[in-house]
Amino acid sequence: MEPKQIASRLQRAFSADVEKIREFRGQTTVTIGKRRSREILGHLAAWPEFSFDYLEDLCGMDYLGKKEPRFEVVYHLHSLKHRHTIRIRVPVSEDDCAIDSVVDIWAGADWHERECYDLFGITFVGHPDLRRILMPEDWQGYPLRKDYPVQSDLGEREWPGFTDVVKTAEENSRYEVR
């Protein structure tokens, strides 16, 4: 099925939840509301005419100062049966920074959602093991947010982890090794 057809079919079925349909360079993006996002994505995977069985990608977006709500979760769906593709966007606001997990639909979403949580701070409700994945466990802040600096904002100060190591090394140097 053509992406356009999928989008219009989707709009007919869920007219209250489909917010926007946009096309660019032959790729179709459907923006849907967060409230029923999991249900709609489940239908996209289950309905035989769509059968989007393959989650190509899942990632976050941050539109700080450009758009409200601020965040968006982007799903790239592909069907290996019909060989068609569609992109689904779900806006997520900063105050209620959570969205339903789709791990039970596509097992491959597991690590993608963890990464999105790690780098954007979007919580996935119902995820079996939501931990940081690329950053260390004790990392503060969410690096891919637009208000997170690219370069360190410490200035002359040292990174706390480094000062800790130096302190420990100095303490240990008091003990003489024979």
């Binding site: 360079r25 190509e56 491959g108």
Partner: protein
């Protein structure tokens, strides 16, 4: 003796494997819960090589992002570059000249061969077949020499450009590559005589790490990980890019979805890659290697404004028109078939010359996520076979 066994309590042992471990192919760390020699639970920890490439890309121009991409999967650098260039070309609406497309296809397939060769060498080495390593590095050396001949670099090549390639290939390169393609099929036979029917190899790989077609699809596997389970999905066939539409090749698929079938798939892919290179060499068209509208290397951070003649005679004859932006506003997902699997670039542009967001869909990241499933309930020794079979490069996994 039974009384003796009762007196000793047994409990699960937690074993830390990596991040510094030769069989993890980089800095992968696995926490293994062991019951005797059986793995009860396997928890991968990644991120030791995280350099924030996606964040860095947001603060560089489209042309300056290119050198970051060969640091993703540093073994198959050319395909990363080509994949990124293709994504930007599709976003900008540029078409590379025919010769550049053919050269990129040749380079991509050479990279596929060298990547699969490294995979074969290390995978076999992990499972105890040392000779394959020595044989396969001989061929890899030849390929790297050819890369060096063209662009001066062996690993971080940055050879493809947005809208083509950096420079044309030389006569010596083409002759050298032709000689390589003549010889290479015999070399593949050589590797196969070493391990294909080797009893130890068969015992270590048959029936290990089995993945059914449904599971592989559900977990988002791609490349040989998906094809080994019998699903014929290859981006080169589905959405032909560069010169793949003009060449003839087969997509090998496995049946059982075990380590052995994935090995057979990759070996067959080596032959197909060789075939593609030969066809491209025969058909290589003449002409330029860079499109006229390709963006300049010193692309300004602000989008270029087009100069157009002003229609009103009262004003100066030329004025800057603000509406025209060199970079269109929009979003695009473009995938290519990298040696590891589907490598996707998702670019979101806000009209500026820096990407608003660049997302890299790295096959290795997705493939590592399936390790707990492959390893649970199997022997500790099979963990090594499973890490080898997913063909992981942590630079790409951690980005």
């Amino acid at each position: 003796m039974p009384n003796e066994a009762k007196r000793f309590k047994t409990k699960e042992l937690t074993l830390n494997m990596g991040p510094q471990h030769p069989a993890t192919h980089g800095v992968l760390r696995l926490v293994l819960d062991l019951d005797g020699e059986t793995v009860v639970k396997c928890t991968p920890h990644v991120g030791y090589l995280h350099r924030g490439i996606e964040k860095l890309a947001e603060n560089r121009t489209y042309t300056a992002v290119l050198p970051l991409t060969d640091r993703l999967d540093y073994i198959s650098n050319m395909t990363n570059n080509a994949g990124y260039c293709l994504a930007v070309e599709r976003l900008f609406g540029i078409e590379a000249p025919a010769r550049a497309k053919y050269i990129r296809t040749i380079m991509s397939e050479m990279t596929r061969i060298s990547s699969h060769i490294i995979w074969l060498a290390t995978h076999a080495l992990d499972l105890g077949a040392m000779t394959v390593f020595l044989y396969s590095f001989r061929e890899r050396e030849g390929l790297l020499d050819l890369f060096e001949m063209t662009c001066g670099a062996r690993l971080t090549v940055s050879y493809p450009r947005i809208g083509g390639v950096r420079c044309d290939v030389s006569r010596e390169f083409l002759d050298g590559l032709y000689a390589f393609t003549e010889e290479f099929p015999r070399r593949i036979d050589e590797y196969e005589t070493l391990i294909d029917k080797n009893r130890i190899w068969l015992q270590r790989t048959k029936g290990i790490g089995v993945l059914t077609a449904e599971e592989a699809i559900n977990w988002g596997m791609s490349g040989p990980m998906l094809r080994g389970s019998g699903v014929s999905y290859d981006v080169r066939k589905d959405v032909p890019y560069d010169a793949y539409g003009d060449v003839d090749f087969d997509v090998p698929v496995g049946a059982n979805g075990d380590v052995y079938d994935r090995y057979r798939c990759r070996m067959e892919e080596l032959r197909q890659s060789n075939r593609i290179i030969r066809q491209c060499l025969d058909k290589l068209p003449p002409g330029p290697v860079l499109a006229d509208e390709a963006p300049d290397l010193d692309m300004p951070f602000e989008a270029a404004k087009k100069q157009v003649p002003d229609m009103s005679l009262l004003h100066a004859s030329i004025s800057l028109v603000k509406e025209y932006d060199a970079v269109p506003e929009g979003e695009l997902y473009s995938a290519i078939e990298a040696p590891k699997g589907e490598l996707g670039f998702y670019l979101v542009s806000d009209g500026n010359t820096r990407p608003f967001r660049m997302r890299v869909r790295a096959p290795s990241f997705v493939h590592v996520s399936i390790l707990p499933k492959l390893c649970a309930g199997h022997l500790l020794a099979d963990v090594i076979a499973n890490i080898g079979t997913i063909d992981v490069v942590l630079g790409e996994c951690d980005r």
